[in-house]
Amino acid sequence: MTTIQLPHFLIVGAILFALGMVTVVTRRNAVGILMGVELILNAANVNFIAFNHFVEGPAKLTGQVFSIFVIVLAAAEAAVGLAIVLAIYQTFRTIDVEETDLLRE
């Protein structure tokens, strides 16, 4: 029997979430911000599946179902987000989010 319990996975999820948030906050590259969002979604997934395994028990599968939905939405988010990044690049010739301030003027 293993000694790994629920808090171990929650701590891994917390570290993933914090590092994803740091990525989102500190990057100026739009693609880097999208990678941070992927990290945050993965942290949510780790928590979903850990709670499904440890709290819900084997009778239900709600956490795994929601993790699949999160993965699906992450794929859709990545496709649309990277398309927007490409459109921004075609318009501004840069993907520095500091310089894409057309609406501010």
Binding site: I11, G32, L39, V72, V80, T94
Partner: protein, 260 residues
Amino acid sequence: MVGVGALGAHLVSGRPLGAAAIVALYLAVTLLVWGVNGFAFRRLPLSGAALFLFSAATFGVLFLLGYLLGGVAGPFLIDAANRAVPYLKLADAVFYLFAVMTCFGAAGCAFSRNIIYSAWSLLFALLGAAGLYVFLGADFPAVAQVLIYVGGVLVLILFAIMLTKQIGEDPKLTNTHVGFPAGVALAIVTIATLTYTAVMAPWKVAAERSWEPTAQRLGIAFLTDYLLPFEVASVVLLAALIGAVVIARKEIKETSDVST
């Protein structure tokens, strides 16, 4: 590395090294130094005799290190490992391997200066998370993670990096705005808060665990209990992909009213 390992093994086993083994080790170290010289030390061009001298010095240092490890620290390390084996479970070791892989990948993604290295670090974070899913008895989400994230999203991210950045023109596009210290402070505060919550909260832990394959039950759940979200998700995917194509295609305009 192989040479150092062989050296350490010989010294641990207590047999003296033969002359041929020493020559082979010296050649291995020379090759290693030559490779590292070409790969990493571009600023330090070594050639000819300097290369052999440098590799001889490296070999001497490695020999002393191996002798110290084998003769002095080796028995102590072996004894400590023998004592630690009963307390170290293989499953725990696998968990910590995946957890360290995930966390270091995420840290590399967050703090790397080059966006390409960030993307490769993200690969390790995603693979480590997939390993954690397997560890939690979620085989289908793990496979979906590898297929969709690593096979789809990461390739898409790499494409976006290649398409938006001229290679070699601006390698320092990933300047930080908030800054490295502020980012580290934010990470520490967030991790501390969430860890405190995760450890101190009284979770109602279920009694039984199961590592059975869940793909069949997931499929049944998707087509019975979660049918409406399933269909909505498929429509969302379709709409997102069509929208991505529409947004990302190159528009042909007569008069470009948006300039830099």
